[in-house]
C-alpha cells in the first residue's frame, strides 16, 4: 500500500491533514506528517521530510504532498539525501495538499499502484466543490 507524507510549513497543518486523512485510511496505512522546523517554528525541513519518507516507505512507494513553494524545494533536497533505491519509489504530487491527500489516501487504501495514487492526488486540482 503506497505510503503518504504530508509536508507543510506548519506542523499543525500537517498533523491536521493527517488526522483528517486517517478517517478514510485503512488501519495499517502509513500517513506521516512532516510539518514545520525541528524547533516547532514555521518552515520546511529537508531532514524531517527525508525521515518521514523513510517512515512511510512501503514496497509500493511513497507519495509526498506539499503545501507551498519551498516545501517542494525541501522535498527535493530530502530526496537527494535518500538512498537511490528509495528515491526511485517516491513521487511529489503537484496537487492541493488537503484535497490531494484525501484522494491519495483513499486511492492507496484500495491497493492502487504508485502512478495511480499520484494521478488521483493530482486529479484533485480539478475537483469542484460548489456545484
Amino acid at each position: 500500500m503506497v505510503g503518504i507524507v504530508v509536508v507543510s510549513h506548519s506542523a499543525k497543518v500537517a498533523e491536521g491533514i493527517r488526522e483528517l486523512a486517517l478517517q478514510m485510511a485503512k488501519p495499517e496505512q502509513k500517513i506521516i506528517a512532516a510539518g514545520g522546523m525541528a524547533d516547532g517554528s514555521i518552515g520546511t525541513d529537508a531532514m524531517r521530510v527525508s525521515e518521514a519518507i523513510v517512515d512511510a516507505m512501503t514496497d509500493a512507494g511513497v507519495i509526498v504532498m506539499v503545501d507551498l513553494g519551498s516545501a517542494v524545494l525541501s522535498t527535493d533536497t530530502a530526496l537527494e539525501i535518500l538512498d537511490e533505491n528509495l528515491r526511485a519509489r517516491v513521487r511529489i504530487a503537484d496537487a492541493p495538499i488537503l484535497e490531494g491527500t484525501i484522494g491519495a489516501v483513499v486511492e492507496a487504501s484500495v491497493g492502487s499502484p504508485l502512478e495511480q495514487v499520484l494521478a488521483t492526488a493530482e486529479g484533485a486540482r480539478e475537483m469542484r466543490k460548489c456545484l
Binding site: 478514510m24 483513499v106 487504501s109
Partner: protein, 88 residues
C-alpha cells in the same frame, strides 16, 4: 448488469468518510461499478468522481455494476448505504 436505486439516509451524504467507504467497498469487486444521479454518472471506484457528485443526505441515486461479481457488489454497496455508513 445489476442495478439498484438507493437513497442516502446518513446525515453526511456521500462525502468525506462515507465517500471513501463507498469507493473502498466498490474496489473490492472486479465488476465495473458506476453511480448516477441527476443526469451525471461517475466511476464508483474513483474517489474524485464520487466526491465530485456531491450527493447529499436524502438524495436518490443509482448504482450499476457489470461483471462476474456484480450481484455481490451491488448488495455490498446497498448494505453500506442502508447501514448509514455506521454514522448513527
Amino acid at each position: 448488469m445489476t442495478e439498484i436505486q438507493l437513497v442516502l439516509t446518513n446525515p453526511t451524504g456521500l462525502h468525506a468518510r462515507p465517500a471513501s467507504q463507498f469507493v473502498q467497498t466498490a474496489s473490492k469487486f472486479k465488476s465495473k461499478v458506476k453511480i448516477s444521479a441527476g443526469g451525471k454518472q461517475v466511476d464508483a471506484k474513483s474517489i474524485l468522481g464520487v466526491m465530485t457528485m456531491g450527493l447529499r443526505s436524502g438524495t436518490a441515486f443509482t448504482v450499476t455494476a457489470d461483471g462476474e461479481d456484480e450481484v455481490e457488489c451491488v448488495a455490498a454497496l446497498a448494505s453500506l448505504v442502508e447501514s448509514k455508513f455506521g454514522e448513527e
